[in-house]
Subunit: 198 residues, 2 copies
């Protein structure tokens, strides 16, 4: 039996849930800046070693929060109603996936940004592999001719997440003239139409 | 006179150059992990306050190193020979820009990654505004019809930088079957052809 892959023991799992719940409370009360490894240990009443074992780094705390939030989103993608879930054409599903991902990143923007940490090896914190895998799968179902589909999937993942994770400043995100969600979802739809032109 | 925009005094500028030179030596000798605000103060013989004033955060040190490296690259883009510099068609210049940017990011990959820090406001450390501005300018010269050019420029900037900054793991970057530079430059060229189809 591979000991490294055995399920976490009950107390470890309980500690993890308690740490995540504490982090969520801290986030609601004070925003992301106050969350550090030390502060999470203090507020949770658990040792620094426990925090370290569960998350490794400060950005690891945010990555764990994001993973937690992502579960419902993933279920919608894998088995929810079309066009996000199965049953629509691959092009419709690509567009719906981008729209849902943009909503998700806007909703959890603080956490997604705080999960970014260049000191950790890539793929970076909030660069979920789900996007890359799902977009790759949908591209396979389109007839795009000879093309490096793996790389195209990474480029599209970056074009989808990058504006929110790296490039748009706070004032651009808060723009009132053209709300960010509408602008990004329209932009994603246009990009997919350009990529998939017959 | 706006005091905030006056040129740095000679000693401030000397200190900055000394700090950057020290950081480069540390980088060559030990890699990026050992560079911290404290270690840079120690090795340079300057105070922690001075390091803080010049760079703000650890990732700010790497951002300053990257900016420094970028100067030669920028000159090639703005006034070098075509197709990177002026004189070629916008489509050729877009492709040449991406190829040069990929080479630049591969050459300075450690620094570009270490400049990423989600605790800082976006645009993120290594997400240079040059790409966004230059790609935007070249897109204007193409006849793309009605499209949100600002957003398309950000999406393409993300598709160009994102694979290297966020998504490709160390083992993917070191792939020997299809070298990363060739794969990324071909992928960028293909993406531009798809975007700019007549």
């Amino acid at each position: 039996m591979d000991l490294t892959s055995r399920p976490p023991r009950a107390d470890a799992s309980r500690n993890r849930n308690h740490l995540l719940a504490t982090a969520r409370t801290m986030l609601t009360d004070h925003g992301p800046d106050r969350i550090t490894m030390d502060a999470l240990a203090d507020c949770s009443g658990l040792g620094k070693g426990t925090v370290f074992r569960h998350f490794g780094t400060r950005s690891g705390i945010f990555q764990a929060l994001l993973d937690d939030n992502e579960r419902a989103f993933q279920e919608g993608v894998l088995s929810g109603p079309p066009p996000l879930g199965p049953g629509a054409s691959p092009r419709e599903r690509l567009i719906a996936y981008g729209q849902a991902r943009i909503r998700f990143l806007l909703e959890h923007h603080d956490i997604a940004r705080a999960a970014l940490d260049g000191r950790q090896p890539a793929p970076a914190g909030s660069a979920t592999p789900l996007s890359r895998i799902h977009i790759r799968m949908l591209l396979t179902q389109l007839d795009l001719g000879p093309v490096d589909l793996d790389l195209l999937a990474i480029q599209l993942t970056a074009a989808l997440d990058g504006p929110l994770l790296l490039y748009l400043s706070k004032s651009e995100l808060d723009a009132t003239t053209c709300p960010t969600e509408q602008r990004l979802t329209t932009g994603w739809q246009n990009l997919i139409h350009r990529i998939c032109h017959p």
